[in-house]
């Protein structure tokens, strides 16, 4: 990979740093994602109850924890950091998010839908069907926020960071949007957890 020159403002003085350009997609991690998706397809194809349960519970738990961590813990810390530090953290964090978040979302939703079919929870005759439909509504709202705001902000900030002179205002605006939406999705996932635990115990 070529080495680029980037100008980063530090304490009002612009310094030039030689560094590798930001990677939009961490290609080295793609085999891991492919392996996870392969196992997920196998779990759905074989209707393995344990595997579907594992993907749904593990994926949902990690996804919720990650969003709450980003929105409620890392977000305020990031907001209080100086711009160069913020840019540095963003460069390291965001490429990983491009792969981690869609993988967790796919794991959780695909296995959850299949599990619901397998357990007969999708059927209109299921006594708690209204709660299942309520979970569809919550997931739909989360999907609209994630696809409309969070994911584009993630990609756009990486493109901005690849520029020889990144615009600090653009990075700040996009990161605020990313952290804010991650926090909202994390909160909505708590609603999903309430519905899911209610369904599991009823």
């Amino acid at each position: 990979m070529a080495v680029a020159e980037q100008r980063v403002p530090v304490a009002g003085v612009e310094i030039r740093v030689e560094e590798r350009p930001v990677e939009i997609l961490p290609v080295k991690a793609l085999p891991v994602v492919a392996a996870i998706v392969g196992c997920l397809v196998a779990a759905i194809g074989t209707n393995s109850h344990w595997a579907l349960d594992f993907f749904h519970v593990a994926g949902g738990g990690v996804w919720t924890a990650l969003d709450l961590f980003l929105g409620l813990l890392l977000g305020p810390i990031l907001g209080s950091m100086a711009l160069p530090g913020r840019i540095e953290l963003t460069k390291k964090l965001m490429p990983k998010m491009v792969l981690i978040v869609p993988t967790l979302v796919t794991m959780t939703l695909a296995s959850g839908f299949q599990l619901a079919r397998y357990n007969g929870m999708l059927s209109t005759s299921y006594p708690q069907h209204a709660w299942v439909v309520a979970s569809f509504a919550v997931v739909s709202v989360m999907a609209v926020i994630a696809i409309g705001l969070l994911e584009p902000a993630n990609i756009a900030v990486l493109f901005e960071l690849r520029k020889p002179e990144p615009n600090g205002a653009v990075i700040e605006k996009l990161m605020r949007r990313f952290i804010f939406t991650a926090g909202i999705i994390g909160m909505m996932q708590i609603a999903t957890l309430v519905i899911m635990t209610w369904l599991a115990s009823s």
């Binding site: 695909a110 839908f113 609209v144 409309g148 584009p152 756009a156 615009n167 600090g168 605006k173």
Partner: protein
């Protein structure tokens, strides 16, 4: 420190493509949720068809508004939207396979497929727009 010029560039006014795209996805999600709520029985098709029509209309409006923009990094838009389209064709293909695998047939399958196509076209527009709006054309 962030200068006023940088701030002005970050805050410049653009057509509401993100908001319209989100509305389009919301109607797609509404249509799919409605059909899924009736599975394995067949859902009444009126509401999902209405969702499909509205989402397509909103997506077309977003694209038309964007097409009127002269100062816009179209090359970057098509670069990002193209790769995103490729990724979402794979995702949509997997979802379509799951729908067919679950014995969905006839008009319900047709409506679900069209909703999926609308979703697959909307996401690249949103991604391409958000990246390209912050790129300089010169």
């Amino acid at each position: 420190m962030i200068g006023p010029e940088e701030r002005a560039w970050a805050d410049r006014t653009m057509p509401p493509v993100t908001a319209l795209g989100m509305v389009a996805i919301a109607f797609v999600a509404g249509g799919v949720s409605f059909v899924a709520a009736y599975l394995p029985k067949h859902a009444p098709l009126g509401p999902p068809i209405a969702c499909l029509v509205v989402s397509v209309a909103v997506l077309v409006a977003a694209v038309l508004l964007l097409a009127r923009e002269r100062e816009f990094a179209w090359r970057r838009f098509f670069q990002v939207a193209g790769w995103a389209l490729l990724a979402y064709i794979v995702i949509a293909g997997m979802i379509e396979y799951a729908i067919v695998y679950d014995q969905t047939r006839g008009p319900v399958l047709a409506v679900m497929t069209l909703l999926l196509v609308t979703f697959t076209l909307t996401v690249p527009v949103l991604l391409g727009f958000t990246v390209a709006r912050f790129q300089r054309t010169s």
